[in-house]
Symmetry: C2
Subunit: 291 residues, 2 copies
Amino acid sequence: MAQGAREAQASATDSEFDRDTSVTLREPGVYDADLSEGWTILSAVNGGYLLAIVARALRDALPHPDPFTVTAHYLTPSKPGPAVVRTEAVRTGRTLATGQASLFQYEADGTEVERVRVLAAYGALHSLDDDVHTSVKPPVLPPPEQCLGTEDGPAAFPDDSGFAQRVAIRLDPATTGWAVGAPSGKGEMRGWFSLADAREPDPLSLLLTVDSFPPTAFDLGLMGWTPTVELTTHVRARPAPGPLRVFVTTRNLAGGYLEEDAEVWDTADRLVAQSRQLARAPRSGRAPEGR
Amino acid sequence: MAQGAREAQASATDSEFDRDTSVTLREPGVYDADLSEGWTILSAVNGGYLLAIVARALRDALPHPDPFTVTAHYLTPSKPGPAVVRTEAVRTGRTLATGQASLFQYEADGTEVERVRVLAAYGALHSLDDDVHTSVKPPVLPPPEQCLGTEDGPAAFPDDSGFAQRVAIRLDPATTGWAVGAPSGKGEMRGWFSLADAREPDPLSLLLTVDSFPPTAFDLGLMGWTPTVELTTHVRARPAPGPLRVFVTTRNLAGGYLEEDAEVWDTADRLVAQSRQLARAPRSGRAPEGR
C-alpha cells in the first residue's frame, strides 16, 4: 500500500462516522455493532446511520466492495446500544454480488428483535467504464455561506440531537420557510452536506447522506415524524472529495404516505447517488412507535 | 359478497394474467407456480410478470392484501416452466406487514436455483385516507388511436414475443423514433397500457405494468438487452378501471448502468404507482446470460 493511501485510510478510520459504524466479526457472516447516541434525532436513531452499519457488514461479507443498490425496510425503532448484523451471501457473480442482512437488538432477556432488513447488490465502482450521460442537472444552490445551518437558528434539527453535531448541513433558505411557519408547499429540501469532522464522502457515507435532511413533509406544512417504511439507494459513483449537494423532493403525498426522492451530487458535478423512500406522512409531533 | 363483486371476481379469475400468475399452496408459506411462455420477450420471462407471481404468493402469506412497496433483485434468468415461491412473514403490524419471498426453478436433477428475491411491505389500500396532494401532473399523451401499437410496426417488441400478445401498449409517437433509427436522446417512453384481454388493473397487475414498456435505453440510442438488477415499486392507490398512462424516464446513464423511473396514472388522474429500477445498459443484442 502506498504511503499516501495508508495515511488516507488512517484519517478515515479516525472519523466519527467510521468509528460509530464499525462492525466486529463474531463468526462468519455475523457482526457485532454498537449504535451510538451520536447519530440520534431526539431518541430516534437515524435510518441512514443504521443503513451504513448494515452496509459495512455486507461489504465485509461479500466479495465486491461497493453498494450499488441497497433496500432497507425499517421494522422496529432502534435504540442506542449493542446490535448484531446477520448477513447472507445470496448470489455471487463476476461483477455483482447480492446480499441480505438484518440488524437486531436485544430485549432485556437477550431475545433478538429485528430492527432493519436489507437486500442489496454490491459491485466495484472503480471498475465501471467512464461513460457518463447524465441528463439531469445539479441543483442550483447558493454558496454554503449563504445557506442556513443549525447555528443560524431556525434549527434544522432539535438542539439535543446528536445527529446535528455530526453532520454539517446547510439548507438553501428557499427551503427553510417551514422553520418560521411559512413552508413553500413545494415539498423540497436543498442544501450542502458534509460530515462535521470533514471526513470525505465515500459510498458508505452516501447511505447516510440520502437520509440526513429534514423531511420534505416540513416544506409541505406537515411537521412531525415521518417514519421510513422502505428506503432504496443507488450508489452510482465514488464521490469526489468536498461538500455534497443534496436535492430532495416529494411529488406524491397521498393516503397518509409520501415518497421522498434524493439526488446527491459531488464537487465534480457527478450524480453519485439517487434514493427513494416510502414514508408515513406526519400525523403528530410524537416520537415514532410501533406500527 | 354482493352479486356484482362476485361477477367481477369471476371475470378477473378468467383473465390471462390471473391464470398465469396463479399460485398453489404446497405447504404453509410455500407456493407452486408455473411460468407461462405467454409472458416472454424472445426467450426471457418478463420481470414484471415474475414479480406479480411472487407478490401474489406474498399476498396469500401475509395478513394485509396490497403490496405497498416491493423490491425485487433478479439473480438468474427465469425460463418458462415450473417454479416454487418460498415466503417468510418478517413482521406483522396493525397496518403494515413485511414479507420476503424467493422464486426458485429446478435444475435437471431437481436442485432449486433462486431466480428472484423480493422484500416487500403490504398494507390495505382501501383503508387509507382520501387525502391526495400529488404535485406532479399526469403525462400529456395523444389519444390511444394516435399512438403506436405492435400492429402498427415499427414493433415495440419482437414478433415472436408472447408478451406482445398479452399487453396492449400504445406508445406516444414522440418516443418511438428509436424504432426507425432516430431516437430522441431524451431517455423517455410514454404511452397507454392495458391488458390485452381487457382485464382491469389492480395492485398486482401494476407490478407488471411498471416493467412492461420498451427500455428507455432505446430512446437513448442503445439497442439491446437492459437486464434489471433491482426493481422497487410503490403501489399508492387501487387503480380506477380503464387504460393506464405510463411515463418512464432515465436521467442517469453512467458507468454501464442506468436507472429507469416509471409513473403509472389511472383514468381518475391518480398516480397509482411509482417505480425505479437499476439496470445494466445494453452492450449488445444478445439475450441475457449470467452475470
